[in-house]
């Protein structure tokens, strides 16, 4: 049995939110650079150049990449041999967010209640997803998720008869209708299977996978590539102002489902999809 003080989680979260909000992941930077090489629309090229320059500026000056520093999604995996001590886990996570957002001068974008809409003032609470895994490890993936892209996500409960084509159409329709709103070029997270909430969660977890890593099953990896190409053929382009680059990647995650179900969820990530993975 390993013991881990929750203060370590607080400190790791505080560091992770600062890092995530100021540094675009290397794989996203590489995808943007290679999109710029292929992009033929002058307006699209100009936009890609600006976002690459923006990433450079944010990293060197310690500024937030985007003013929407998001609501923080924390995907926390805790080994079943680990005993968390020293306080409440959720409070520890929220304390880390509060500290990190103060330290980084990031925008506080969370309201206490969906109706009264009073700002909580410290960007808490987190959206915390925990899972218990075998062993003594603790892995945290932190994703400050902006709302421009989050607002364009959707879940559909398809009929099994709609099959693979139904899923492809659902994804393409979601991206088409979102247009320029989610800040393309996008990272398209797709969750298929499970039930309603499982599909939604899979689509979010799909965004946490690096862009240069395809699905481990060849068929799904093919589907990811195929969907990316078809999305790019839509011509929405950077900012929705036309071009060849609408999606940098499509990441799909699947799960077993009920005989009567074909749930599919699309969670869109903007070009500034910021994520940090920490092992404790």
């Amino acid at each position: 049995m390993r013991t881990l003080h929750v203060d370590e989680i607080t400190q790791a979260i505080a560091r992770a939110v600062v890092d995530a909000n100021t540094h675009l992941p290397e794989d996203v930077l590489r995808a943007l650079a290679s999109a710029l090489e292929r992009e033929t629309s002058p307006r699209g090229r100009r936009f890609l150049q600006v976002i690459i320059e923006n990433a450079d500026l944010a990293a060197t000056e310690g500024l937030a990449l985007c003013q929407d520093t998001g609501m923080v999604v924390v995907d926390l995996e805790v080994g079943q041999e680990v005993l968390l001590v020293g306080g409440d886990l959720m409070e520890a996570v929220n304390r880390g967010i509060k500290q990190g957002y103060e330290l980084g001068f990031f925008r506080r974008s969370v309201v206490k209640d969906p109706f009264s809409r009073i700002n909580t003032g410290d960007n808490t609470p987190a959206i915390l997803h925990t899972s218990i895994i075998p062993g003594e490890g603790v892995r945290m993936r932190v994703l400050p998720k902006g709302a421009g892209s989050e607002n364009m996500g959707r879940v559909g409960m398809l009929k099994p008869s709609q099959g693979l084509d139904g899923v492809k159409d659902f994804v393409l329709q979601a991206v088409w209708e979102a247009g320029g709103n989610p800040c393309p070029p996008l990272i398209v997270g797709v969750g298929v299977g499970g039930n309603m909430e499982k599909a939604a969660l899979l689509s979010k977890k799909a965004l946490l996978r690096p862009l240069d890593q395809r699905h481990s099953h060849a068929e799904m990896a093919d589907l990811e590539n195929q969907l990316r190409e078809r999305i790019n053929e839509l011509g929405i382009g950077p900012q929705g102002l036309g071009g060849d680059t609408t999606a940098l990647a499509v990441n799909i995650e699947t799960y077993p489902t009920h005989i009567a179900c074909l749930p599919v969820a699309v969670n869109l990530g903007c070009h500034s999809t910021r994520r940090v993975c920490v092992e404790l």
């Binding site: 500024l63 700002n119 320029g180 709103n181 900012q239 036309g242």
Partner: protein, 182 residues
């Protein structure tokens, strides 16, 4: 590249065409969801607005707080579509331009055409880059809204693209029509 200096009159904005690149020099106002809701509530009650929108530009932004030694933190555009419900009332009062990202509703475009206003797109997600163009910031109203307060900003060479003009031309529509829908 055209340079525009607010306040603008109808003649200025009617000359702009979708696809024109412009740079803004001067004073603009920053407001997003909550500030718009408050302004429209004031209008409904017959109360005065915190500023006169006639001739002005509203930038849809909720910036990051200013780090030490800076006037503002990261400050890129938010999705304009959320302000569609509020924009026509402000356009009717003479608001000449809105800066944001993403498409606008047909109602907003029609109201822009009627009153001679334009919609300007700027670089979504490039908040650090755009913050360099903002040289002064002052809170005008609703400080209690935090990042959603109504601000007045001095900008220099603030880069925009006319995305929807006062003749009803829209770059977003062009992009969609080119592909003939899905």
């Amino acid at each position: 590249m055209k340079c525009i200096h607010p306040p603008l009159n109808e003649e200025d904005t009617r000359k702009l065409r979708a696809g024109d690149e412009v740079k803004i020099d001067g004073t603009i106002y920053a407001a997003r969801d909550a500030a718009h809701k408050r302004m429209i509530e004031s209008l409904r009650k017959g109360d005065p607005l915190p500023f006169n929108p006639d001739g002005q530009i509203i930038y849809y932004v909720g910036p990051c707080p200013a780090p030490p030694g800076r006037v503002i933190g990261s400050a890129g555009p938010t999705t304009s579509g959320r302000m569609d419900a509020y924009a026509p009332d402000l356009i009717a009062l003479g608001l000449r331009a809105m800066i944001g990202k993403g498409e606008r509703s047909a109602e907003v475009a029609a109201s822009m055409e009627r009153h001679g206003a334009v919609y300007l797109a700027t670089f979504g997600g490039a908040g650090a880059y755009l913050a360099k163009c903002i040289v002064k910031v002052e809170t005008v109203a609703y400080p209690e809204l935090g990042p959603e307060a109504l601000l007045k900003m001095e900008v220099r060479d603030f880069p925009c693209l006319v995305a929807i003009d006062a003749q009803g031309n829209s770059l977003y529509q062009e992009v969609r029509e080119k592909r003939g829908g899905r």
